[in-house]
Symmetry: C2
Subunit: 343 residues, 2 copies
């Protein structure tokens, strides 16, 4: 009874059945007319009538039904550790630009950069939510993706490829994090810095960036100093900077943030302490988010928008007939050091 009352108030979406009934044709005929540019089996007048009625009723195909039947979601997923890190919205924009004209929507899934969040993302993907994925994972490893690969889900992972590719439709896009961090460290040493610290988060790309930093420091006979936090947040960057500043005269003269968000938090902490960047402490970052430019932060540029475009192109191609047969690709992307005023 209550249900019936609700029905009266809340109308339901029109279906192909409704259109078919109004047009006096079969439901299948409606499907054909709506989906094919040409339908020789349907008389022109009937076709026009169906189109007109569908439009009048405001018919839109039910996405779940279409997906269930066709096994296509027409959706690409972008799995990121943190939407509020401006690098990722930029990436998403690039994805959308390429995916939209091909008829694909782009969904963003935020893992919070935590292992549990990444496992949730994996389960989410295993439920068939998307036809393709571009993802950044800090904790999950290549074997974790094997199952999805076997199900025929193409993936672009932003990171270095593992030793064993396993013949799955997984492509890797990456920059040489070790070398990029090494180059930035050399730049700082070249400017005369001797006490150089690095701020990083425990997981994700921080490790490889620390590797490059440590190598160059050791080669130069300098002592590496790492401050490790749990997240790539500006709060973490500020916290780390405060602890570095508490060393007084022994404090570093330059600080390398493993990403821009950390570096920006560190800049903030330096200024809050009444000190100047770069006069008292030089600061450099990694990513080149839009804010880096505004703040004059010297950093390593990774082109987010272009990476997004390329990743989407890759997925779209793999989703065409036979696209999954090609072996997994690795694409190394050039980094670039952008010198500004902060160092």
């Amino acid at each position: 009874m209550l249900r019936a009352m609700r029905k009266a108030i809340v109308s339901s979406r029109p279906t192909q059945r409704d259109v078919a009934a109004a047009a006096g044709v079969s439901q299948a005929a409606v499907s054909m007319v709506l989906n094919k540019a040409e339908t020789p089996s349907v008389p022109g007048a009937t076709r026009q009538r169906i189109l007109k009625i569908a439009s009048d009723l405001g018919y839109q195909p039910h996405h779940a039904a279409r997906t269930l039947r066709s096994a296509r979601t027409m959706t690409l997923a972008c799995v990121v550790p943190d939407v509020t890190n401006p690098f990722y919205p930029g990436l998403v924009r690039g994805l959308q630009k390429t995916a939209a004209p091909e008829g694909y929507d782009v969904l963003i899934y935020d893992t919070d950069g935590q292992a549990e969040g990444e496992r949730r993302a994996l389960r989410w993907l295993q439920q068939g939510r998307a036809d393709g994925v571009v993802g950044t994972f800090f904790h999950l490893q290549a074997p974790d993706f094997e199952e999805l690969g076997r199900y025929g889900l193409p993936m672009v992972l932003l990171g270095p490829p593992p030793k064993d590719r396993g013949g799955l439709p997984i492509d890797y896009m990456f920059i040489d994090n070790v070398e990029a961090a090494a180059a930035m460290t050399r730049l700082l040493i070249g400017k005369g810095h001797r006490r150089i610290a690095m701020i990083l988060a425990e997981f994700g790309p921080g490790r490889r960036r620390a590797l490059g930093y440590e190598q160059v420091m050791r080669e130069a006979g300098l002592e590496p100093q790492l401050v490790v936090d749990r997240t790539f947040s500006s709060e973490a960057g500020a916290r780390a900077m405060q602890s570095l500043l508490s060393a007084g005269d022994a404090r570093p003269t330059a600080v390398f943030g493993a990403n821009d968000v950390l570096a920006i938090g560190a800049m903030q902490a330096v200024r809050d302490a009444g000190l100047s960047v770069p006069d008292d402490v030089a600061i450099v970052g990694f990513d080149d988010v839009p804010t880096a430019n505004l703040l004059g932060l010297t950093t390593v540029r990774q082109p987010d928008f272009e990476l997004g475009e390329l990743a989407a192109r890759n997925l779209v191609d793999r989703l065409k007939p036979g696209g999954l047969d090609a072996p997994g690709r690795s694409l190394e992307w050039k980094f670039e050091i952008v010198e500004r005023l902060s160092a």
Copy 2:
């Protein structure tokens, strides 16, 4: 033949049928055990066996099938004009925090702030992609959402409610843009500024903010000066500022960006011209995105994260039994002026 070969390489997802076959029970029994905490009709040993096999096979429910049958997507959509405006990722974080514990995923749909993008979002929603929506629309009006409302889709729109609410399950969350802009304009006048310009985009909240600005300017006997661009981008802000600076000595002494992204672009342009903020030109914005704090931008704070939490709570409640029966609500949110160094 080719298909058969592919089949051999690409395995398919396990279904409830596969689990049922392996456990020697009906597919329906698998569904019951997997979805209900207690299944009195299924013997304990059988229940355990089903659970074990489902886990071993890595079974995950097919999302489209579940949605089609249950008419629930367990997804909330967040429709935004521009993911790269940091205000929206902040909003999304708030949504996720509240939605995730209730079992809802949050998807982001980017309209690019254009009429066509918003119409695409509307069609997307009409395809039954989400159970609820929180959205910011610059072009679509209340009547455009009537159909979705009749279908029983709860919506939270970020903006002022229209005159005629129409009894639909649409809630509005808004701040008083006119008054907020007026207050900010008064602040600038109080600091002695007389030539105050406003930079805004043609659509969206810019109009009401311009209204408040113009009112206060006129009341003070001052001439309003509006520079209107097509988008709320930092490029637009920089462009507008350049044109203002070209007036030489007649240039404004203060510039009000209708949002922070515009204001930040304007700051950049002032500095690129070799001038100082606030000494040569004072600049204020609107939103209080994270960057505003870093750049010392005086602005109007809208709490993105809290707004997201509240919007999600609202939708989750409306999706509970009877939740749609409540009339549309309006929730006015307090704004706050945050004074920093830019003015």
